[in-house]
């Protein structure tokens, strides 16, 4: 028994060491920098002034809170809408029909696509100089491409939301398809024979059955979109700015004093995501205990 345990510990040690060194080491050093520890410029004193500056100072508070609001809005909206599109897509495609494989392929196509490529694709398609704007002008729907609504680089983050929906719907779709395929249609058929109409079958049967998987996937997508940099950097505006972009700009600032604010912002983002993950684990554990 002891030998078995030792074998497990030994085989787990190398990956654990890498995770602890790279992840927690990085977080710890970042946290130190957020507290003002920067030996390169002779700062050794630890305090929370970078956090205070970011959240409450006259210079950054407005930027921070508007950025946080935009972050939450973009992450919630894109996660929710991507989940909804994927759910309806999966429900439509799960039945056998001619062309199912092609539909499946098209729906899943975005999954291996890098976020950067998707963001550039959004600019090509949805910007005021993009494909849709030109097409709309060509067929006379609008007088010139400049009249096309601002969907990319807009202050409400529509472009970012669209990019995330485009990208993450494929992730939701793959998960939902596997859940729906494994469930089969027996539950729905049973509900139908018990008198449930189409809406009731969706509301009382499909949704509760897929919800645990949909919820897990949502947490992952939300956490990712909350902390991701490249899409908001390409498709966002200068104000309001999403927090990861703001943090990176602090980090790139030639004034090394700003690095503490950048790190404080990164720690805040990490903290929010971690709270979400802990909340998710608490919910799933509570559900397991309840069952």
């Amino acid at each position: 028994m002891g030998g078995e345990r030792l074998k497990i510990v030994l085989s787990l040690t190398p990956p654990l060491l890498i995770i602890i060194t790279l992840f927690f080491g990085g977080i710890f050093y970042g946290f130190l920098q957020s507290l003002g520890y920067q030996p390169a410029i002779g700062k050794y004193e630890l305090n929370f002034s970078a956090y205070y500056n970011v959240m409450f100072s006259e210079r950054y508070a407005k930027l921070f809170w508007s950025g946080l609001a935009l972050n939450l809005w973009v992450s919630f909206a894109s996660t929710f809408l991507a989940a909804v599109f994927a759910l309806f897509g999966a429900l439509a495609i799960r039945k056998t029909f001619v062309g199912k494989t092609l539909c499946n392929f098209i729906y899943s196509l975005n999954l291996p696509m890098p976020h950067l490529v998707v963001a550039v694709g959004m600019i090509f398609v949805f910007s005021q100089s993009g494909l849709l704007a030109r097409l709309a002008a060509q067929i006379g729907m609008i007088s010139s491409p400049g009249d096309f609504p601002v969907l990319v680089r807009d202050k409400y983050g529509f472009g970012i939301i669209l990019a995330y929906i485009w990208k993450e719907a494929a992730f939701f779709f793959i998960i939902l398809m596997s859940v729906l395929q494994s469930l089969g249609e027996n539950f729905e058929e049973l509900a139908q024979s018990l008198g449930a109409n189409r809406w009731q079958r969706f509301r009382y049967v499909i949704l509760p059955l897929v919800m645990p998987n949909l919820f897990s996937a949502s947490i992952i997508v939300f956490a990712f979109s909350f902390g991701a940099y490249e899409v908001p950097a390409l498709l966002g505006v200068i104000y309001p700015q999403m927090l990861p972009v703001m943090a990176f700009e602090f980090f790139l600032n030639p004034d090394l004093n700003a690095r503490s604010e950048g790190m404080a912002l990164s720690i805040i983002i990490a903290l929010i995501v971690m709270i979400l993950v802990v909340f998710y684990f608490w919910l799933t554990q509570a559900k397991i205990r309840k069952d």
Binding site: E189, S193, N197, L209
Partner: protein, 351 residues
């Protein structure tokens, strides 16, 4: 209480070289408990799903109380199906599962609660309303599934292999419960099974189905005593088949002349098969029988507790006879004996 009529029902599936259901006709009277019996893949469940509306037939009609069910959507047919693997909603407790059909109808919650209690009492599970399906045994899950179906007051109740997932002890208990409830509520019920014993013990009538085709629809007793063909006889444990011809209105079989009392003599072809249940054959060392007595030799004796099974060679035809072990003459392998096939127990079939 509803009369069900199935007429010329046909269903094809892509990739199958024969119809899954081929021209099935059935008349099921109100309040009857009917079994669809046949091997796996013979089309039993397909017929059930066409009755519920989950499959549309390619041809034919299904009427309930003289009204065609085909244009009516599943959820409005009043035909409730209990699936083989119970399918209790895992995220609902027992009360919520049982009350599902009434909730879908928008019934008031206090009435639902009352009816759920009634149904759980009916299936003898009064105190488990707050449990989740995971916390129930297979037998309990089956009862809850039954209660959930019955709460809808179905015009027709369909049970897909209701006992197949239960162990022997629970099967007996559940069988009793289904019979009691069916008789109490007098709901027309069809159940699907591949187990002939289950069909015989439960059903008023059995529809025997092979390869999508209805072989026979009659009482369980008739399947034993008056099978329609060799397939049906074999499915119900028939082992004795004798080639015969009708010559001058008399039956001449390969073991000799045979007196026959069956009421189907006029329906029989010139070439036919005779069959008799092993338990209806009598044997003796002396010829003490006044008709259908043939000389034979015992080729094997198999003792199985209460009964002993004898294999007998009569004129190169192998017959099996099953006798109660207690009180019989001591007959052993290679003994020459007389075999008696009582004329009221022997039955003729065309194929």
């Amino acid at each position: 209480m509803s009369d069900l009529k199935i007429e010329n029902l046909v269903k094809n599936f892509q990739g199958m070289d024969r119809p899954a259901v081929n021209n099935v006709n059935l008349d099921i009277n109100s309040g009857q408990l009917v079994a669809f019996l046949g091997p796996s893949g013979c089309g039993k469940t397909t017929i059930l799903k066409m009755i519920t509306g989950l499959f549309q037939p390619d041809n034919g009609n299904i009427t309930l109380d003289n009204e065609s069910l085909l244009p009516i959507p599943t959820e409005k047919r009043g035909v409730v199906m209990v699936f083989q693997n119970y399918l209790l909603f895992p995220y609902m407790n027992v009360n919520e599962n049982v009350g599902f059909a009434l909730k879908m109808k928008g019934v008031n919650k206090s009435i639902i609660d009352e009816r759920v209690k009634e149904m759980l009492d009916l299936v003898k599970l009064p105190d488990i309303g707050l449990r989740k399906p995971k916390q129930l045994s297979g037998g309990q899950q089956q009862r809850v599934a039954l209660a959930r179906a019955l709460i809808a007051s179905p015009r027709l109740l369909l049970l897909d292999e209701p006992l197949s997932n239960l162990d022997a002890h629970l099967r007996d208990e559940m069988r009793e419960l289904i019979l009691t409830i069916q008789q109490k509520l007098n709901v027309t019920t069809i159940f699907v099974t591949h187990d002939q014993e289950e069909a015989v013990l439960l059903a008023d009538k059995i529809a025997l189905i092979f390869d999508g085709e209805l072989q026979n629809f009659t009482s369980p007793k008739n399947y034993y005593e008056k099978p329609k063909n060799i397939k049906a006889a074999k499915f119900f444990g028939g082992v004795n088949f004798i080639n015969a011809d009708i010559v001058d209105n008399k039956i001449q079989s390969e073991i000799g002349f045979c007196e026959y009392q069956g009421d189907n003599i006029r329906d029989l072809n010139k070439k036919l098969f005779l069959t008799i249940r092993p338990e209806n054959i009598k044997i003796s060392k002396n010829n003490e029988f006044d008709h259908n007595s043939y000389q034979g030799k015992i080729t094997s004796v198999i003792f199985s507790g209460t009964h002993t099974r004898y294999k007998i060679n009569v004129n190169n035809v192998h017959l099996e006879c099953s006798l109660q072990s207690v009180g019989i003459d001591n007959m052993k392998e290679d003994d020459q004996i007389f075999v008696h096939l009582p004329k009221d127990k022997i039955w003729g079939m065309n194929d």
